[in-house]
């Protein structure tokens, strides 16, 4: 045990912050306070003083354990986590990516119709620059949609008696009986949960799907949850809270360890249900799956998981880029297994299709 435990914790907190734990100075203050009432010469007490005051989730605890061992047991510290996400440059809206084909008369009209074409093209057929231009079209999404009755109430023309307002009115009337004021349950938007497949077969679309998830979260508010399905399940809700779509995508890219790997959709869907969905996240929610349904593992498992999800969720919307191709039939094993439990199967191959997907999510069929 180092002699100066509080000083060691200052360094420890700095390392924790670099690893993404919110070990703020006020939390550190709590650590120091905890050390004064515990035995600062006991390794266990020192461990718990830091863990109880600096951590705020099981993920934090995992990181804390590693950093604590490094600082107090002299274990070689882990390599510092990548702090700065690599930024991708997105060209401004409407700027032609390949100037040589445009010639010298880029009238506004031509640019507009070019954007119109990009909206409808399959994202997989576009080059990187065109895809980036097309994606910029996705940002403004309108997603006012299904609500459920909240337990909160608000004033209404008729309904149950609003006691407080009635009393105030009576008081104003000098005690004379007055018509009672009414209230009514308010409406709240339903939670949307977006599951984005980031496996190899989805690589051309992954960026668009992350943008879609970002736009959904901006439009539907903080109750929207987003996960990526790669070789493992990653929750990226926090990363998507950046207002700027490019920053948010970059943060997701940095957080997701498994872009373009293989997918075992069934296992990941199970991980989602066990870790989050059944606890309450999927209950009464609109679940949007963005995937081609290409299952490397057991398709029957995926079917069983969707059957369960069906019992929890309000609606399941599946967007499949392959569904935009002519002659599409849901033949991929995973897709076929999932289909009986899906409320809407829609294409998701182009910007236009994603905008239509947004309409489907809120129940306004295009």
């Amino acid at each position: 045990m180092p002699v100066d435990v509080p000083a060691a914790f200052v360094g420890l907190a700095r390392t924790l912050r670099a690893a993404g734990v919110d070990a703020s100075p006020d939390r550190l203050g709590a650590t120091v306070e905890a050390l004064t009432v515990l035995d600062a010469s006991s390794r266990d007490d020192v461990y718990w003083a830091g863990r109880l005051s600096l951590c705020a989730s099981p993920d934090d605890i995992e990181r804390y354990d590693r950093v604590f061992a490094a600082v107090f047991d002299g274990v070689v510290p882990m390599p510092a986590a990548a702090v700065e996400p690599a930024l991708r440059v997105v060209p401004p809206l409407g700027v032609p990516a390949d100037a040589d084909t445009e010639g010298d008369g880029p009238a506004r009209h031509a640019a507009a119709s070019r954007l119109e074409v990009l909206r409808r093209r399959d994202l997989a057929d576009l080059d990187d620059a065109d895809r980036a231009t097309a994606l910029a079209l996705l940002t403004p999404l309108s997603l006012v949609g299904p609500t459920r009755r909240s337990r909160r109430t608000g004033p209404a023309p008729h309904g149950p008696v609003d006691r407080h307002r009635t009393l105030r009115r009576t008081l104003r009337a000098g005690g004379e009986p007055v018509p009672p004021a009414s209230l009514r349950r308010r409406q709240r938007p339903r939670r949307v949960v977006v599951l984005v497949d980031v496996s190899g077969s989805m690589a051309p679309y992954a960026d668009a799907f992350v943008r879609f998830a970002h736009a959904t979260r901006r439009a539907r508010g903080p109750r929207t949850e987003v996960f990526t399905l790669g070789t493992r399940l990653t929750r990226v809700t926090r990363e998507l809270s950046y207002r700027d779509p490019a920053l948010a995508s970059a943060a997701v890219a940095a957080a997701v360890p498994d872009w373009s790997g293989g997918t075992r959709l069934g296992e990941l869907m199970k991980a989602f249900l066990d870790g989050w969905g059944r606890r309450g996240m999927a209950r009464g929610a609109i679940v949007v799956v963005l995937s081609d349904g290409w299952e490397r593992g057991d398709a029957a498992l995926l079917g069983a998981q969707l059957k369960q999800l069906r019992r929890l969720a309000y609606r399941i919307v599946w967007a499949n880029p392959r569904a935009g191709r002519p002659g599409f039939a849901p033949l991929a094993a995973g897709m076929a297994a999932a289909l009986p439990y899906v409320d809407d199967l829609v294409p998701g191959h182009s910007v236009d299709a994603l905008v239509r997907l947004a309409r489907t999510v809120v129940g306004r069929h295009a």
Binding site: A30, D39, S53, S57, S150, T170, L171, E176, G280
Partner: protein
């Protein structure tokens, strides 16, 4: 002196001993967490799988501190009127009519002051906890409430005060011991967590779970208790929708005792499986393909 004013503990070990004698068997981490919560007068935010004993911790603390437990079950839309205070509307209205009948209705200001006074105020759990000292306040499943309610909790948990616009601020004489539990269905706001000590409760190891079963059901034979604890640990390793928590282990033991079973066998397990596994798919998963044999072998393992 801890702030409860009556019972004090010198170190986590002393608190652990007191909790143990009250029937709640904490591990080192939990005992330290509870000790710090008492000493530092900070709320304790506990998370963990369902059935690991988050709620019973608050109960045990109330017993140990000899203080009343005030419980607030959170749900979506919970607001001031259900969580903090409400006005006694019928009595207020009666008072108003009586004042009018007595011809005092002219002085509206005085009348308003009378209507919104302490005698017409109904204290809900959070205000009760502030006004009762010592007390243990359990804010159960805070993740079920919404953001608006978290904002409301913030004032209470940081200042231990409740502000009533018509009356003023009520301050706790000595802060209540606060335990906040969450099942992680959503992220609770950082500002709220920052005011708390955070503890993640793990499933107990075999020895501690056995001790818990023995403590709660002294009638159970050593053999049965050990078998049930081992079987539960085994079930947690099987791929299930809802692995059993300590609560289910205890339910199971009680079910077996009620049936007069003193050793697990295929028949008694099949008949009582509903006490430990609450999903039909989970029961089927355990009963098919030799799963039951594996369960009984794990339960009988003397090593």
């Amino acid at each position: 002196m801890t702030h409860t004013g009556h019972v004090t503990f010198a170190d986590p070990g002393a608190l652990a001993a007191a909790l143990t004698s009250s029937g709640y068997l904490p591990d080192d981490g939990l005992a330290t967490a509870a000790f710090l919560a008492l000493r530092m007068q900070r709320p304790l935010f506990v998370e963990g799988d369902a059935g690991v004993g988050k709620t019973s911790l608050a109960l045990a603390l109330a017993t140990v501190l000899d203080a009343p437990l005030i419980r607030l079950q959170c749900y979506e839309g919970i607001d001031v009127a259900q969580a903090v205070y409400d006005w006694d509307f019928p009595r207020q209205l009666l008072h108003l009519r009586a004042a009018e009948a007595a011809g005092r209705a002219g002085d509206a200001d005085a009348l308003e002051g009378e209507l919104y006074s302490r005698r017409f105020l109904l204290a809900r759990p959070l205000l009760q906890a502030i006004e009762t000292s010592p007390s243990v306040l359990l804010v159960d499943e805070v993740d079920r409430a919404d953001d608006e309610f978290e904002a409301l909790l913030l004032e209470l948990l940081s200042e231990f005060t409740v502000t009533i616009p018509e009356l003023g601020t009520v301050r706790a004489e000595s802060p209540p011991v606060v335990v906040v539990t969450s099942n992680r269905t959503r992220d609770v706001h950082d500002a709220l967590k920052r005011r708390c000590l955070y503890h993640w409760v793990e499933h107990p190891g075999f020895a501690r779970e056995l001790a818990i079963v023995r403590h709660r059901y002294p009638d159970a034979t050593e053999q049965l208790a050990a078998q049930v604890a081992r079987a539960s640990a085994h079930l947690r390793g099987v791929d299930l929708q809802k692995p059993p928590g300590v609560a289910e282990t205890l339910d199971w033991t009680e079910a077996l005792l009620t049936l007069g079973v003193d050793s697990l066998d295929p028949d008694s397990v099949t008949r009582t499986l509903g006490a430990v596994l609450k999903y039909r798919e989970d029961q089927e998963a355990v009963l098919r393909d030799g799963g039951l044999v594996a369960l009984l072998e794990a339960a009988a393992d003397a090593g």
